[in-house]
Amino acid sequence: MAKDGSAVSLDGQGKPMWLVLELTYRCPLKCVWCNNPLDFDQYGKKELSTEEWKRILREGRELGALQLGFSGGEPMLRDDLEELVEEAERLGYYTNLITSGVGLTPERLKALKQAGLKQIQLSLQSANRSLTDELVGARAHDLKIEVARMIKAEGFPMVLNVPVFRQNIDQVDEILALAEDIGVDYLELANIQYYNWALLNRDELLPTREQIERAEAAVIAARQRPGQQMTIYFVIPDYYETRPKACMNGWGTIHLTIAPDGAALPCQEVRVIEGLEFPTVREHSLDWLWNDSPLFKKFRGDEWMKEPCRTCDEKEKDFGGCRCQAFLLTGDATNTDPACAKSPHHHVIEMAVNKAREKHHVPRPLVRRQIGAVTTVFMEHK
């Protein structure tokens, strides 16, 4: 019967409902919190061709994928983007473009609309030109605002993604006002997750608890303002919660990411885990990769769990948290995510949080995401 709750959300039923194509790791910006791999420059020569991406699109639909994200790197750097969007639309996906805005010219925006693109998620880092430009390491602020207005003028639904950290979190009010002025449909104030470049810069990026509380209060006030049209999400960093995030809704349950080289991944960060193999669509069908590959079976379900997760009554809720974070912070991907207060390793999170609070914090430089900024050759698993 038609009543509240009669429309249920999908549980995925074992289908990779969410397909994300990381078309390239190339990018003109140098964001210090970027979650792309540290060795992103190694993927250029291995990028999939247009025909290979199209094959993934077809096989993805056969597996039941519905939502499709074109991401990266900067997806606008692929000049076959319009062609891929058109093919995806023909196949029946709901197509989302995830972009920094750089390269999204009025002509390409029109072409994307024509190709049937449904939605655009634009990233913006602050309400202030000099701050944005410093954070992304390029003159991008004015361009991003221009692109945002163009997207709305073209009639696209739009998500404004603002990655949040110590340097911009006190600007929440200004960002809210700017987003409202642009006419954004969904504002996503997302405290960043600490992988790759963000983890490298974590001590400088992690906000204090007081900062988070102030930002959250500003969000709650904005949500209650009369006539508020915009949906506002505020994602708290798991470092400040006593339970981990339900990462990817569970390993290999609904999310499938394809990296620029065609590796099929349960999540975009998973290559940080040592000792796993990452087969690609060049050697295998998507069906095999999703259903049968050792990688996807590795942490499906809860067989792999150790204590305290194994006997915990919350394991259906958070699946023991994030495998990548468990590996990065405890050295073993089968451990409980240390963001959980029940984890015997929770002190590593508390230490980071305490450091953020230090009165006499000595500022350190931030490492920009760019070729040559770091070397990964001495990291055993690279």
Partner: protein
């Protein structure tokens, strides 16, 4: 959210432009797609939303649904309730 909002019989509800309603074979159901989300609809919900085109009045939607699901006498109230709840969620507009 739907507290003080009521659809009148002559209103013509329409699906918000951010939402896409379509049949999905792999789910054997209608789904509602929107930025970053998917909702699988049951048969009644799908029949109502299919008619939210901005052309059909709420009264006609209710009448058509009544004809489809004859066994339920109180369907009219339920339909208005459904319209109000989904309006509150931003799926449809007046």
């Amino acid at each position: 959210m739907s507290g003080d909002f009521h659809f009148q019989p002559e209103d013509r509800p329409r699906l918000d432009s951010k939402y896409l309603l379509r049949w999905e074979k792999s789910q054997d159901a209608y789904v509602l797609l929107y930025p970053e989300g998917v909702i699988k609809l049951n048969a009644t919900a799908a029949e109502i939303l299919k008619r939210c085109t901005g052309e059909t009045t709420a009264a006609n939607i209710a009448a058509e649904l009544k004809a489809l699901f004859v066994d339920n006498a109180d369907i009219e109230n339920s339909i208005y309730k459904f319209l109000e709840v989904t309006h509150g969620k931003g799926w449809i507009r007046r």
